[in-house]
C-alpha cells in the first residue's frame, strides 16, 4: 500500500495517532477524576462537590438522533434545534433542586408584562443572571443595588424602621435593602427596626461573594442534595 506513494505511510501513521488520541480523550475525559480539569471554573458557594452530571445531564436522544435533529434544523425541516451531548443548564434545571413555595421573588413572577422595563435592566427571569455558575461566588453582580429596578417608587405604610424607607429611597441608599431583607425570603429571622441593628453592608457584600450567611443559618426550606435529586429523578424515570 505504501509503495504507491511514500506519503501514504505518513498519512496512515497520522491517522492512527489521531484515532488513538481521540480514543484516549473519549475514555479519559468522562472519568470523575477529570471533572476539575474540564470545569469552566470553581463551583459557586453551596455547589462544591457536585458532580458535573448533576447539572449537565445527558441530552435527550442518542448521538445520532441529536446530530440528525440539528442537521434537520439547519436545513429548515425542523423548527427547533435540540441539545447536543448534555442538556442546557437553565432556570428549570436550577429549580429541580431550588424550587421553594415561599420564594419571595420567583423567576416566573417577572414574566408579567409590567416587569418588561425592569428585566431589560436585570433579567430576573433567569437564575444565572445573578448566580452564574463556575465563578466561586454566590452572586456575580458587581453591586447589590438591583432592588431599585422594581421598587424605585416604593411607599411603605406603617413603616416599622427608625429611618423611614421614604428617606432611604430619597437618598438612593439601595445597598441598604439587603441589610434587612433577604431576596428570596427563605431565612427564618426577624428584621431589624433600627438602622444601627441591621446587618453591616460589608457582611452582606462578603455573603454575596460567597462568604458566611449573615442573616441566620435557619432556613425554611433546604435545596435537594445531589443524592435526593438523583433519587427523585430515578423514581420518575421508571
Amino acid at each position: 500500500m505504501f509503495n504507491k506513494n511514500p506519503l501514504r505511510k505518513r498519512q496512515y501513521i497520522g491517522s492512527l495517532i489521531g484515532i488513538g488520541i481521540g480514543l484516549l480523550i473519549f475514555i479519559i475525559l468522562p472519568q470523575k477524576a477529570t471533572e476539575d480539569f474540564l470545569s469552566l471554573g470553581p463551583m459557586n458557594t453551596g455547589h462544591e462537590g457536585l458532580s458535573c452530571d448533576a447539572c449537565h445531564t445527558d441530552a435527550k436522544g442518542n448521538l445520532m438522533q441529536q446530530i440528525q435533529a440539528n442537521v434537520a434544523f439547519t436545513f429548515g425541516t425542523r423548527k427547533k434545534p435540540v441539545d447536543f451531548g448534555t442538556e442546557n443548564v437553565d432556570t428549570k434545571k436550577c429549580l429541580e433542586c431550588h424550587d421553594r413555595p415561599n420564594d419571595r421573588h420567583p423567576t416566573h413572577r417577572f414574566f408579567e408584562p409590567k416587569f418588561k422595563d425592569a428585566i431589560a435592566k436585570i433579567d430576573a427571569t433567569q437564575c444565572e443572571t445573578c448566580h452564574r455558575e463556575h465563578n466561586d461566588t454566590r452572586v456575580v453582580l458587581a453591586d447589590a443595588t438591583f432592588c431599585v429596578n422594581c421598587h424605585y417608587d416604593l411607599k411603605v405604610k406603617n413603616d416599622p424602621i427608625d429611618v423611614p424607607h421614604s428617606q432611604l429611597i430619597a437618598n438612593e441608599q439601595w445597598s441598604t435593602c439587603l441589610q434587612c431583607h433577604d431576596f428570596h425570603g427563605n431565612h427564618i429571622y426577624k428584621t431589624a427596626e433600627k438602622i444601627k441593628d441591621t446587618i453591616a453592608l460589608t457582611k452582606i457584600q462578603d455573603y454575596l461573594a460567597g462568604g458566611d450567611d449573615p442573616f441566620t443559618k435557619n432556613k425554611k426550606h433546604l435545596p435537594l442534595s445531589e443524592e435526593e435529586w438523583k433519587k427523585i429523578k430515578s423514581k420518575y424515570k421508571k
Binding site: M64, Q68, R78, K80, P101, N102, R109, K114, L154
Partner: protein
C-alpha cells in the same frame, strides 16, 4: 478516476443517509407544536375558559374557606408561609400559588393578578396592563393583546368582588390603598399569557389540567402548613366545610366541588369545538 468519483459520491450519499435516517427521529418537543394541524381553539377561547374556572375557584375559596373559616377562627395572612405565622393563604396568594405551580408544569401558561389599588405594591398594574384595565373597569369585558416583546398572547379578565370577604378584608387591611370597595366592584384583573394563537384539543385540556393541578397544589400546601401548626388549633380535615364547624375539606373534596361547578361550562366549550368523534 471514474471509480474514485463514484466512491466519493457513494460516501457523501451514505453519510447523508446516516445523518438523516439512522437512529430514529427525535420528536419536536414544544407543547405548542403537538398536533400542529389540529388547532381547534383560538387562544382567546381557551384563556376565557380557564379564566372562567379561575373565577369559580377563587369565589369558592374566598367564600367557602376564607370567609366561613374566619368565622370559625381560622386565620389567613399574606405572610402565611413565614415560619412564625400560622395561617392560610389569602385569596390573592392562593392565586399566586396556582400560578407558581402552573410554571412548574410543561404547559407554557402565565397567570398574574393585579389591581389599580393593590394591598401589596408589587401587584399594581402598570403600562399596557394598566391602560387596558381602565377599559375592563368600564365595561368588565376581557381585553386581549399580543405582547410583542415576549411574543406572548395576553388576555386580561376582570377580577370582581364576588364575595363579602373580598370587600371586608381589603377595606379593613392595615395596608389598604382603598377603603370603599363594595360587592360587584372590579377589584383587579387577572392576566393570562400563552405563546401560540391557537391550541389543539390536547393543548386546551393541558391548560385546564395545569390550572386544576395548581389549585390542588396550593390547597395541599395550605393543608401542609396546618399540619405544622404549633400554637394554633388544627381544624379537622375531611369531607366537611368550615360552614359546618371547625373543619376544612381535603384537597380532593375541594377540587371536586370546583369541578362540579366548572365542568359543565368547560365541557360544553370543549365538545362544541373539540375534535369530531368518528362515527361507525
Amino acid at each position: 478516476m471514474k471509480n474514485l468519483k463514484f466512491t466519493k459520491f457513494a460516501l457523501v450519499l451514505s453519510l447523508t443517509k446516516i445523518l438523516t435516517s439512522c437512529g430514529g427521529s427525535m420528536p419536536e418537543e414544544s407543547a405548542t407544536e403537538i398536533a400542529i394541524n389540529d388547532k381547534a381553539f383560538s387562544v382567546e377561547e381557551v384563556l376565557e375558559m380557564v379564566a372562567s374556572e379561575n373565577d369559580v375557584t377563587r369565589t369558592l375559596y374566598t367564600k367557602g374557606i376564607v370567609g366561613a373559616g374566619k368565622k370559625q377562627g381560622l386565620k389567613f395572612d399574606e405572610d402565611w408561609q413565614d415560619d412564625e405565622v400560622e395561617a392560610g393563604p389569602l385569596p390573592a396568594l392562593f392565586l399566586r400559588g396556582i400560578s407558581s405551580d402552573i410554571r412548574k408544569s410543561s404547559v407554557p401558561l402565565g397567570l398574574y393578578l393585579g389591581s389599580d389599588f393593590p394591598i401589596n405594591a408589587s401587584n399594581k398594574l402598570e403600562g399596557k396592563q394598566a391602560e387596558l384595565f381602565k377599559k375592563i373597569k368600564a365595561n368588565q369585558k376581557p381585553q386581549f393583546f399580543y405582547d410583542e416583546s415576549q411574543k406572548l398572547h395576553t388576555a386580561m379578565f376582570a377580577d370582581m368582588a364576588m364575595a363579602a370577604p373580598c370587600v371586608n378584608c381589603h377595606n379593613d387591611h392595615k395596608n389598604t390603598t382603598k377603603k370603599d370597595w363594595k360587592l360587584g366592584d372590579v377589584m383587579g384583573a387577572t392576566t393570562w399569557q400563552y405563546p401560540s394563537d391557537s391550541l389543539s384539543y390536547k393543548e386546551a385540556i393541558g391548560v385546564l389540567n395545569a390550572y386544576r393541578n395548581g389549585t390542588k397544589a396550593i390547597y395541599n400546601a395550605y393543608l401542609a402548613e396546618i399540619a405544622n401548626f404549633k400554637n394554633s388549633p388544627k381544624p379537622a380535615i375531611g369531607n366537611t366545610w368550615p360552614s359546618k364547624g371547625f373543619n376544612l375539606p381535603t384537597a380532593e373534596v375541594f377540587i371536586d366541588s370546583v369541578r362540579k361547578l366548572t365542568s359543565y361550562k368547560s365541557l360544553e366549550i370543549l365538545v362544541k369545538k373539540g375534535v369530531p368523534v368518528a362515527s361507525n
